[in-house]
Amino acid sequence: MDCKNFNEYISLYLDEILDEEDKKEFEEHLNQCPQCKKEFEETQKVVSLVKELGEEPVPHGFRESIINRLGRLRKNQTSNLIRWIAAMAGVIIIFLSVKAIKDTRFTAGIDREVMPAEEVAEDMASISDDSVNEFASPKDEGVSAEVTSMEDDQGDKRASTMKVQSDLVEVYVQDICITPQTLKLMANSNGLDLIKSDENSVVIEIKEEKERNILYEELSKMGEIRDIGENIGGNEVKIIIKTKNE
């Protein structure tokens, strides 16, 4: 064994993992080479010094500090989850609103039933008498039905938010069977009070806000509603029945 090999084997010898043959050769060289012997003894000394170092106690509060940090970590994760859910809910609401507005625009001329009250009011303001044709009834009832059924759950929810706003409403009917008498029966069956009626109109008393919704819902079943009165929120609503080609 030469000095280089000896050097490489010092640790293996100290840790007693040399095989018998290498061990014998190592010990032979150890006794022959004073320089290597010195290095060996110094290394032995250093190793025993390191082994004597032992372990120090863990700082006070070490474990608690980790657990606290983990507790915070988990809280953050939970609140991040809640934030995420809230954000997703927001996105869904925006998506549905955009979709609803788009669909309403698309069907505006076909099916007023699904138009939100705000939009109706907005349109009312800009409509002059000669633009009545804009409200032409659906040429194809099938399309209307299809769109309505597509909109079923949203349409239903929105119906309850739509109401008659002003004191004068025109209902453009296709069905000539709809007369003031029909309106009287409708009022009666919905608990609405009839003030007066003539050959093409009725006046209904509004006692509470939700009656505006009921009225809107009922009238929309009969035809196209035009909410044209100047007095908004009054307690009397005059309903005039008009036919499509009027």
Partner: protein, 194 residues
């Protein structure tokens, strides 16, 4: 199933009490490993805490067929190496880190180990300092072998290196430590004589 693996399993399910128990099985070992790697109590505490936080976050990646102790030491080693790299970048111009290359140049002429001149406590703080100055792979091998009493095979698993590399790293590390310590002791002896 050992207590260790039961605690690991419960901790995976988010049981913080079980994890606290698991910490109590390893905190002393991991803290002392980090302490010998850095030779700085405050750094060691921060690093050891980081190790346990990493362990908790990565429990789902722990392979049940491997030993938890091997895994946690590997995380500790990687954490210390990351820290060493960060510090080294900061300290590079004035670095005192012992490299193999410079090692062979500035070793003084061989003489007797003048340890008799060194009071015991100072001798230990000197050797701690010298260990911390070695490259991570060498000091890690020495710490795991001589302080934590791991076998060569276990060290190979922890550091994820071949056993042949462990053999040469331990031998190389001890030789470097001997040289550094010797030069420091000579320095120390000269100061005392003056």
């Amino acid at each position: 199933m050992t207590i260790e693996s039961q605690l690991v399993k419960k901790s995976m399910d988010g049981d913080l009490d079980a994890f606290e128990e698991l910490i109590s099985l390893f905190d002393k070992k991991i803290y002392n490993y980090c302490l010998r790697m850095t030779n700085n109590r405050s750094d060691a505490e921060d690093l050891a805490q980081e190790v346990f936080l990493k362990v908790y976050k990565n429990l789902k990646n722990f392979r049940k067929d491997s030993k938890f102790s091997t895994w946690i030491y590997r995380i500790a080693y990687n954490t210390c190496v990351d820290n060493y790299r960060k510090k080294r970048l900061k300290l590079l111009p004035l670095n005192k880190i012992i490299d193999e290359e410079q090692q062979d140049i500035d070793i003084p002429s061989p003489g007797p180990l003048p340890e008799e001149q060194v009071i015991s406590n100072e001798k230990y703080s000197l050797i701690k300092e010298c260990i911390a100055q070695l490259k991570p792979r060498y000091k890690s091998a020495i710490i795991l072998r001589d302080i934590h009493n791991y076998s060569y095979r276990e060290i190979a698993e922890i550091l994820d290196i071949p056993i042949g590399t462990v053999k040469s790293d331990i031998n190389r590390g001890r030789a470097l430590l001997r040289k550094v310590l010797k030069s420091r002791l000579i320095e120390y002896g000269e100061r005392r004589v003056k």
